[in-house]
């Protein structure tokens, strides 16, 4: 059951007008430009495509980097384009973007400064410079995904996110919880773990936290986004398969790997993924919201 990718993409952008969550997630795109999913070594041929588009059960994702601008947003876009529910955050104290020199970064506050405002300010400051170093194109991309950078530590998991319905990847994340958090740097991974430990897991809800170490530049973010999509698709595939098993039949009838549920297969999935992406050292833990 495949669909025209262009159609799929246009359909995906529709949700902008509908604030209430659609009962089932929208019919998702089947295909997706191959280049985005092709691993560097070309091993993950066509498999993810099927997983990408499965309608029905979907894991909800959350991507996290330092400033919620480059790496987390690149992967946010990737996952959203693959019609996976996704939200994104930054763990820094402030949004820090490169400035005219290394000692003069442009600093903005989270949760209030919109990408549009940052874009306007930087364009005013020095259009040529910020176009050349990729900041303006990045911000232009970001403002088409959601309106402002959000801080992870200020996020209240479980608080409905109906006001973010216009964001890309929003369908499915209305309840304000996710199943998987993917950070893009060890620092962010530590910050996420620390924050979750401090919060104490009041929701009693398990969350798989991953770290995929991506260096903070545009090129690496592209590669990292592809890798994160690969990981997300694999995880989603596995979780959906567990969901498909009807009742206990699958559990009782299956043997070996088929008996394994999603959660316990995560280390294996990540291990396989790591073989495919040896340049992006990964971490994982099961934490609690």
């Amino acid at each position: 059951m495949s669909a025209d990718p262009r159609l799929a993409r246009s359909r995906q952008q529709q949700p902008t007008t509908v604030p209430p969550p659609p009962p089932p997630p929208p019919p998702a795109a089947e295909a997706h430009p191959d280049s985005t999913k092709m691993a560097v070594d070309g091993t993950n041929d066509a498999q993810p495509q099927e997983g990408l588009v499965k309608d029905g059960f979907k894991l909800r994702f959350c991507t996290v980097c330092a400033s919620n601008n480059n790496r987390s947003m690149e992967s946010h876009l990737r996952l959203a384009t693959a019609s996976l529910p996704v939200i994104s955050f930054g763990t820094g104290s402030l949004v820090r973007l490169p400035g005219p020199s290394i000692t003069q970064p442009n600093v903005y506050s989270f949760n209030s400064t919109t990408y549009r405002a940052i874009h306007a300010e930087l364009a005013h400051q020095n259009t040529a410079l910020y176009t050349a170093n990729g900041l303006l194109p990045m911000l232009a991309r970001n403002l088409s995904i959601k309106s402002y950078p959000e801080r992870f530590q200020d996020w209240v998991p479980g608080k409905p996110r109906l006001d973010h319905a216009a964001d890309k990847g929003a369908p499915g994340t209305e309840a304000g919880v996710v199943d998987v958090v993917i950070t893009c740097e060890e620092r962010c991974f530590d910050a996420v773990l620390d924050h979750l430990l401090t919060k104490g897991g009041r929701l009693n809800r398990p969350v798989h936290v991953f770290n995929v170490d991506i260096r903070d530049n545009h090129e690496e973010a592209l590669v990292g986004g592809r890798a994160i999509l690969d990981l997300a698709v694999r995880l989603n595939e596995c979780a959906a398969r567990e969901r498909e098993r009807l009742g206990g039949e699958g559990w009782e009838a299956g043997g070996g790997r088929a008996r394994e549920g999603f959660d316990e297969r995560v280390p294996e999935i990540l291990g396989e993924w790591q073989e495919r992406w040896p340049g992006l050292p990964a971490l994982w833990t099961l934490a609690w919201f």
């Binding site: 479980g158 291990g271 790591q274 994982w284």
Partner: protein
């Protein structure tokens, strides 16, 4: 079938819109939850899809931070039956996971309800049934469900352990915990709950203690422990100790498949995150030093494990043979008791040195403090005692201590995990003991600390040394100095040397020691004179020849002021000059010895120049002439000193007699003094002295005197006296001229 599916999907979409409503305003939960229960709940015979949705929805509802806890508490009673029914009848991972999550959220709510409604036996029984159902699953269910059970158990432990009471007057404001339960509560007697909590905590911690290899369970446990440690001080020490005895790297023994690698890293990282969080949140925790120690050790072990290049032994000091190390330890201790000669075995556990050497069973002898005997008495007693001692007995005793020592040193390198396994008394076999209410965690801590103190320092193992080859370290070349810097630093050096000298000046007032005479070495005594010699030679000889550049040959008097060409010698000369001028009367000897050096150096220079010039057949005219300094500096000194010269000062006489060379220019300076009527006599005295005692310059001195006599009115009488002796003809000629003039006029 088809219609059934469509009905189901229609119901689902209706439920979804109801959920959306609740998400937009939490107040709707109060109506929606009771509304959906008949569809999803007990006795509804709902389809799996509906049950899944229902379980998810309930979990979401009771987790929602937007719904008030009063509302939640009321709703919780309504859903209890549904949860139980789902648990008991549905066999679907998704449903069970969500139901257990919901149960974890609900447990404290129901608990609080029971607190205020001690007679609601029915609801409490349903809750108890849910609890026991979940606990049953904890060991057998699929890992996805087990992690949710772990979280449930953590919640139960948190509720059933006393917490802090913020405000005793308003129980509804306080965190739900055992502390709120009255001692005589009929349904939930605190003693039972505390015992249950203790047992459940052990079960929770056993996940870390068992030889489990499932990173999922381990990280789920670790990540749920943080809140217990923080909010339940009575059990935090026990939890931290267990975590510290957990070795996240033990899986590293097995072959490193990608999956194992992920798991090892994951467990290590999660343990670290938890411990870091503890340190951060309670900086004055007494266990913090141990936590730091643990983190450091873990860091090194991780480097070991993941350093692919030299992974010989993956994880250190972990028993691979499956033997319980605690038992092995006891066996070792028993073996010690075998020596026949009535030597008592060492007590198990860590021993002190005195215990190690104590061989007697006599309590009185054991408690006797030898230090009470004065040492001279000990010496007197000891020697006869050693003579009389039975050799066999002595050898026996030595062997016994030696055997003890050997077995101790063998048994000590146990892993910290084992040490603590013993210390916490955590023998899994007798779980009943864990329920004892008089359990004292503080003792455990102490024991563990003792054990760890005896553990070998892991950092000393040779494998820990990093691989980096030790290359000879080469300092990078410093950037070249600018001229100003050179001048600055050079000047600074010179100033320091003179600073040294001025401190020596003070001691110069000490009683004079007899001068060693001519044969002395120039600078052997490190007093001021020695320094003067050193400095003046530095000035004159050190860089001699290096600065003689053709372009300065003709302007030798201007070298000092030449810009951009720093000369250390001239800087020293300037400094010497200033030093002398600062107190010239007392430092005139410095001046004369310096000038002697200058003169000597000038001579040497000239000779050195002349030698090659002669070789080149007198073609030396083209060679650069050396820069001569003596003349320049003597004149400069005189110009500086003379204005201050007092008419009765004899210093000048001495100075001019001591300097190595006097020429007309010098005498000109002296003559100038004669313009001053006060100092005429001094000028004449100086010259007279030179005439008397410096024959080489007698002629020019007399010339000068003659000039004085002729042209300086005030000097006439003084100079005439000397001239009558040395050049009477001048006087006569003058007299004749005078006479002649008289005649003429």
């Amino acid at each position: 079938m088809n219609s059934a599916t469509s009905v189901a999907s229609e119901t689902l979409s209706q439920l979804e819109s109801a959920r959306a409503l609740a998400l937009s305003d939490a107040a709707y939960y109060n109506q929606i939850v009771p509304g959906v229960l008949p569809i999803i709940g007990a006795g509804a015979n709902a389809s799996l899809e509906l049950r899944r949705w229902g379980a998810d929805f309930l979990a979401e509802t009771f987790a929602s931070p937007t719904l008030g806890s009063e509302d939640k508490q009321r709703l919780s009673l309504q859903v209890l039956e549904t949860l139980r029914e789902n648990l008991e009848t549905v066999d679907d991972t998704g449903v069970i996971k969500s139901v257990v999550q919901a149960a974890a959220s609900i447990y404290p709510l129901v608990f609080r309800h029971i607190l205020s409604n001690p007679n609601d036996v029915q609801n409490w029984q349903i809750m108890a049934a849910i609890k026991s159902n979940i606990l049953r699953r904890m060991d057998s269910a699929s890992p996805g469900i087990r992690i949710c059970c772990i979280k449930f158990v953590q919640r139960v432990v948190q509720v059933e352990t006393p917490g802090l009471i913020a405000d005793p007057r308003r129980p509804e404001q306080n965190e739900i915990s055992l502390a709120l339960v009255p001692r005589d509560h009929p349904l939930i007697p605190p003693q039972n709950l505390e015992a249950e909590a203790s047992g459940l905590l052990d079960r929770l911690l056993s996940i870390l203690q068992e030889d489990t290899s499932d990173a999922l369970l381990v990280t789920a446990t670790l990540n749920s422990l943080g809140t217990l440690i923080r909010s339940r001080p009575s059990i935090s020490n026990k939890i931290i100790s267990t975590v510290l005895n957990f070795n996240p790297l033990k899986l590293a023994n097995s072959p490193m498949t990608p999956k194992i690698k992920v798991m090892v890293k994951s467990m290590e990282r999660t343990t670290r995150a938890l411990l870091m969080n503890i340190i951060k949140k309670s900086p004055e925790n007494p266990l913090n030093p141990r936590i730091h120690q643990y983190l450091e050790r873990m860091h090194r072990m991780r480097l070991d494990v993941f350093d692919e290049s030299n992974r010989k032994r993956p994880a250190p000091s972990e028993p691979t043979d499956g033997l319980d190390p605690a038992k092995r330890q006891r066996l070792g201790a028993e073996a010690l008791s075998e020596p026949p000669s009535a030597i008592p075995p060492l007590p198990p556990g860590p021993v002190s040195f005195s215990q190690l050497f104590t061989l007697t069973r006599d309590e009185g002898a054991k408690n006797f403090d030898v230090q009470a005997i004065p040492s001279d008495l000990v010496v007197k007693i000891l020697v006869p005692m050693l003579i009389r001692i039975d050799k066999g007995q002595m050898d026996n005793a030595i062997n016994a201590v030696r055997a003890r020592y050997l077995s101790l040193s063998k048994s000590q390198p146990r892993s910290a995990a084992e040490a603590a396994a013993i210390a916490t008394g955590k023998a899994p076999l007798d779980e009943e003991d864990e329920y004892e209410p008089d359990y004292q965690p503080t003792e455990d801590t102490e024991q563990i600390i003792n054990k760890l103190d005896n553990a070998p320092p892991e950092g000393l193992l040779p494998e820990r040394v990093p691989d980096a080859p030790l290359a000879p370290f080469k300092l990078p070349q410093a950037p070249p100095l600018t001229e100003e810097q050179i001048e600055d630093y050079g000047g600074g050096t010179v100033r320091r040397v003179f600073g040294m000298m001025s401190t020596l000046d003070d001691s110069a007032s000490r009683p004079k020691v007899p001068k060693p005479g001519f044969n002395r070495l120039a600078a052997s005594s490190y007093d001021r004179d020695a320094w003067v010699t050193v400095i003046s030679r530095l000035a004159t000889r050190a860089s001699t020849g290096l600065e003689a550049q053709p372009n300065i040959v003709k302007s030798e008097y201007k070298t000092v002021s030449r810009k951009g060409n720093f000369s250390i010698s001239n800087t020293i000369r300037e400094a010497l000059f200033n030093y002398i001028m600062a107190d010239w009367k007392r430092r005139i000897d410095v001046a004369s010895s310096w000038l002697s050096e200058e003169w000597y150096n000038d001579r040497i220079q000239l000779e050195a120049m002349r030698a090659p010039a002669e070789d080149a057949n007198g073609d030396g005219g083209n060679l650069p002439a050396p820069t001569l300094h003596y003349k320049k500096w003597i004149l400069k000194l005189l110009d500086a000193i003379l204005p201050y010269m007092d008419g009765k000062d004899k210093v000048m006489i001495r100075f001019l007699s001591e300097i190595p060379e006097v020429d007309r220019d010098v005498l000109d300076r002296v003559k100038k003094m004669a313009r001053d009527p006060e100092r005429v006599n001094l000028a004449i005295a100086v010259i007279h002295y030179l005439v008397l005692f410096r024959p080489p310059v007698r002629e020019i001195c007399l010339d000068a005197l003659e000039d004085l006599w002729k042209n300086y009115d005030g000097a006439k009488t003084g100079s005439a006296k000397i001239l009558t002796k040395w050049r009477p003809e001048v006087l006569q000629q003058e007299a004749m001229n005078g006479a002649h003039e008289d005649v003429k006029s």
